[in-house]
C-alpha cells in the first residue's frame, strides 16, 4: 500500500492521468455554459409577449380552501366511455384493480349514488362499481327528480347529451358532459341558455386540454415565436374497425320486448328523441356510425383537435366552414362468430369456420369514414384544415404554420425556424439554428409503463394526450385531471372550468358547422354579431334531414 516505501516519482506516475478528470470538468463546464447561453438566447425571442390568452389562467386554476364535503354523483350512460370516467372517479368493481394513471392521485371524495343506463349489464357494472350502494333509475328524468345527487356525469350517445344536460341544469345538478356537447346547433343554444340561467358548473369532456404539452404550445404562441400563423393543419388517422366505431356487440343484447332471448336493451327509450326504427344492435352498440345518434367525425374526433386549437389560439367560432367526405372504406360489415356461437372481435383475424351472427344485421353506416373541413377566421387571417380517414394509420398531427416558424405537436411541442424567416435569419446563417432541427423542443417525460398500451387506437390516444399526461414525472389520467378540475370548481362554486359552457358552445357550433356543411352540401357561415348560423344560398338555420327529431 501507499506508505513509506512509495517514492515521490511513484506518486507522480500514479497521479499522471488524474488531471484529465480536471480537464473533463473544465470541458463540461465550458460546454454547459455554451449550451445554456444558446438556449437562453433562443428563449429571449419571447421577451415581447404579444398578448395574454385568458385560457392560460384557466389552466393554472388551483382550488381555494373550500370545504371537502362528499359530493354525490350520478352517471347517465355507463357504456365504454362512461365506465372509463367512473374508473377515473375511483369507481370500479374490485376485481378490475386500480386503473392506470390514478396511482398516487388525490381522492376526489365522491359517492356514486345514482345510475341510469339503457343496457342492463352496464347498470350492473355501475352498481358493483359503486360498492352496491347506487340506486338504479329507469329514466334520467326520474333520477333528477328523486335521487340525492349533486352532480351528474353524462356519457350517453350524442343524441342524449343535450336533453339530459338541460334536464340536469333545470334540476340544479352540476354537469360533466361528454363531447360533442350537443347533436344540433339549436340544442347548443338551448344548453348554453339553461346552464347559464341555472348557474351550475359544467365541464365538457375534452380531457386532453389537461395534457401539459399545451402549456408549452400556448407559451410559444403567446410569445409570438411563430410570427403570423396563417394555417393550422390537423388530422385524425385510424385503421382498425374499433377505431372506425365498429365495436363488439355483446352476446346478451336484445330489446326488452323480445319474445325470447336476453331482454337487456331499453330500445324504446333509446329512440324516443330520434327517428323510431325497429331494434338494431348496430344502432345501439355502434351508434357513432349513424347520424340518428352520433355527430360524425366532426363531433367525435375533429372536436379533439379543434377544441385544443381553440384553447391554444383563443379563436372562438370560425366565420365559415366548408366540408366534404363520404363512406369510402367501411361500407358494410358482417359481424361474425365462431361455429360454437362465440362473437368475434371485429379486428381479430377470422378463424376457419367463422359464420355470420344471426342476431346482428349487416352494418351499413351513414356517417362518413373520410371527412375534411376548411374553417376560416378572416379577422385572424387564419385557416384551419382538418382531414381524417378511418382507413389509414399514418400518423399526422397538429401543425401550426407561421411566417417565422412552424410548431409541430406530433410528439410533444417542436418549434422549427422557417428557412425563409427574417427574424431568425442571422441564426440560420450562423448555424446556431438549423431549419431541420427543432430550435425549441418540449417532450413529456418518457413514462414508466407506456409499454402496456398496444392497440393502435390506444396508441393514437396516448400520442394525442387523450389518456395520460405527466405531473411531476408521474403518468396521470387526463380524465382524472379533467374530472378533478370540475369537482374543484363545484366545491369552489365557480363555473369557469377548464372546458366551460362557453368553450362547449363554441365546440358544438364549430363541429356542427362542418356537419351541416357536409350534409347540406353548402358553405356554412357564423354571424357572430347576431349569433346566427347561415347557409350560403339559403337564409335559414334549418336542421338537415339526417339530424331531425329532438322532441
Amino acid at each position: 500500500m501507499a506508505g513509506n516505501g512509495m517514492k515521490r516519482r511513484d506518486f507522480l506516475k500514479a497521479a499522471a492521468t488524474t488531471p484529465m478528470l480536471g480537464a473533463f470538468g473544465a470541458a463540461l463546464y465550458s460546454k454547459e455554459s455554451h449550451d445554456k447561453a444558446a438556449r437562453e438566447e433562443i428563449l429571449q425571442i419571447g421577451k415581447e409577449v404579444s398578448g395574454t390568452n385568458p385560457n392560460i389562467l384557466k389552466r393554472n386554476y388551483k382550488r381555494i380552501g373550500s370545504a371537502d364535503d362528499t359530493i354525490n354523483i350520478g352517471i347517465v350512460g355507463c357504456g365504454g366511455r362512461g365506465k372509463s370516467l367512473m374508473r377515473s372517479c375511483g369507481f370500479y368493481p374490485p376485481e378490475e384493480g386500480e386503473p392506470r394513471g390514478l396511482e398516487g392521485t388525490e381522492p376526489l371524495n365522491l359517492k356514486l349514488t345514482a345510475v341510469c343506463d339503457l343496457f342492463q349489464p352496464s347498470i350492473d357494472w355501475a352498481v358493483k362499481a359503486s360498492g352496491g350502494t347506487a340506486k338504479v333509475y329507469r329514466t334520467y328524468q326520474e333520477m333528477f327528480d328523486k335521487s340525492d345527487i349533486d352532480a351528474v356525469v353524462i356519457a350517453t350517445s350524442d343524441h342524449y347529451h343535450a336533453p339530459v344536460a338541460i334536464a340536469a341544469a333545470r334540476a340544479g345538478k352540476h354537469i360533466y358532459v361528454e363531447k360533442c356537447m350537443t347533436k344540433t346547433i339549436k340544442e347548443a343554444f338551448e344548453v348554453r341558455q339553461v346552464v347559464k340561467k341555472a348557474g351550475v358548473v359544467l365541464q365538457l369532456g375534452h380531457q386532453n386540454r389537461n395534457s401539459n404539452r399545451y402549456d408549452s404550445a400556448m407559451e410559444v404562441i403567446n410569445k409570438n415565436m411563430l410570427g403570423d400563423v396563417s394555417l393550422i393543419q390537423c388530422y385524425t388517422n385510424r385503421n382498425t374497425r374499433n377505431g372506425a366505431w365498429v365495436y363488439d356487440i355483446p352476446k346478451e343484447h336484445g330489446p326488452m320486448n323480445a319474445p325470447s332471448g336476453p331482454r337487456n336493451v331499453d330500445w324504446e327509450q333509446y329512440v324516443i328523441n330520434t327517428i323510431k326504427r325497429p331494434y338494431d344492435p348496430n344502432r345501439f352498440f355502434r351508434w357513432r356510425c349513424f347520424w340518428d345518434y352520433g355527430t360524425g367525425l366532426s363531433g367525435d374526433l375533429l372536436t379533439h383537435e379543434l377544441d385544443v386549437i381553440n384553447m391554444v389560439m383563443n379563436l372562438g367560432i370560425p366565420t365559415t366552414a366548408v366540408a366534404s367526405g363520404g363512406v369510402y372504406h367501411h361500407k358494410k360489415y358482417v359481424s361474425l362468430m365462431t361455429a360454437e356461437g362465440e362473437p368475434l372481435d371485429s379486428d381479430e383475424p377470422v378463424p376457419e369456420g367463422a359464420i355470420p351472427r344471426p342476431d346482428v344485421p349487416v352494418l351499413r353506416r351513414d356517417v362518413p369514414d373520410v371527412f375534411q373541413v376548411v374553417y376560416e377566421w378572416p379577422d385572424r387571417d387564419l385557416t384551419v384544415v382538418y382531414n381524417a380517414t378511418l382507413a389509414n394509420n399514418w400518423g399526422r398531427a397538429q401543425i401550426y404554420l407561421g411566417s417565422e416558424a412552424t410548431m409541430d405537436l406530433t410528439d410533444g411541442v417542436d418549434v422549427f425556424a422557417d428557412p425563409r424567416s427574417k427574424r431568425y435569419a442571422d441564426w440560420l446563417k450562423s448555424g446556431k439554428v438549423r431549419p431541420d432541427e427543432a430550435m425549441l423542443s418540449y417532450r413529456n417525460v418518457a413514462g414508466k409503463g407506456v409499454e402496456a398500451i398496444t392497440a393502435a387506437t390506444a396508441q393514437w390516444t396516448v400520442a394525442k394526450g387523450l389518456l395520460y399526461t405527466y405531473r411531476g414525472g408521474r403518468m396521470v389520467s387526463t380524465s382524472y385531471l379533467h374530472l378533478k378540475n370540475w369537482i374543484d370548481h363545484i366545491r369552489d362554486n365557480n363555473t369557469d372550468t377548464i372546458c366551460n359552457i362557453d368553450d362547449g358552445f363554441q365546440e358544438a357550433i364549430t363541429a356542427h358547422m362542418a356537419t351541416y356543411s357536409y350534409l347540406k352540401g353548402t358553405r356554412v357561415r357564423w354571424d357572430a354579431e347576431n349569433e346566427r348560423v347561415l347557409f350560403d344560398g339559403q337564409q335559414s338555420e334549418e336542421t338537415p334531414k339526417e339530424l331531425v327529431a329532438i322532441g
Binding site: M1, A2, G5, M6, D10, F11, K13, A14, A15, A16, T17, T18, M20, L21, F24, L28, R443, N444, V445, A446, K448, G449, V450, E451, G473
Partner: protein, 164 residues
Amino acid sequence: MNNENALSRILGKFSGAQKFILASLRVIVGWHFLYEGYVKIVTEGWSSIGYLDASSGPFAGIFHAMAGSSWMASAIDIIISWGLTLIGIALILGLFTRLVSVAAAFFLLLFYLSNPPWIGIHFIAGEGNYMIVNKNLVELAAVMVLLVFPTGVIWGLDRIFIKE
C-alpha cells in the same frame, strides 16, 4: 499481487510511446463513458426503455422483457447511468483498471447485442454504415486492449496499490 507486479514490470519495459498511447486510449474511453453517464444522470426523464424497446435481433426478447417491467427498467436506468459514470472516472484515474475494463466490456457487449448490425437484422443505424462491426464493437475491442494492458499500474492510481 504477484501477477500485477509481473504485469507492472512488463508494461514498465514498454517504450514511452507505447505507454503513452495505451494510457491515452484508457483516458479517451473513460472520457466517453463518463460523459455518456453524466448526460443520462442529468437529463430529466431519461430512460433506457426506448432503447430497450427498439432492440432487434436474436436477443430482442430479453431486452424487451427488461423494458416491460417497470421496476426492472428503473433499476437498469440507475445501473447504466451510474455504471457508465463510475467506469468513466475509474478509467481516467487508472483505478481498478482491470475490474472496470471487464465491467465496460460487459456494458458494451450488451449494447452491441441489443442492436447487432448483423446481416438480415433490422437495426437502428444512427450515423454511418455498418456490417457486423459497429462503433460499440470497436470500443469493446479497445476495452479488451485495456484489460490485457492495464496501464493503471504504471500511469494510474492502481500503482499505489502495488508494492515494488
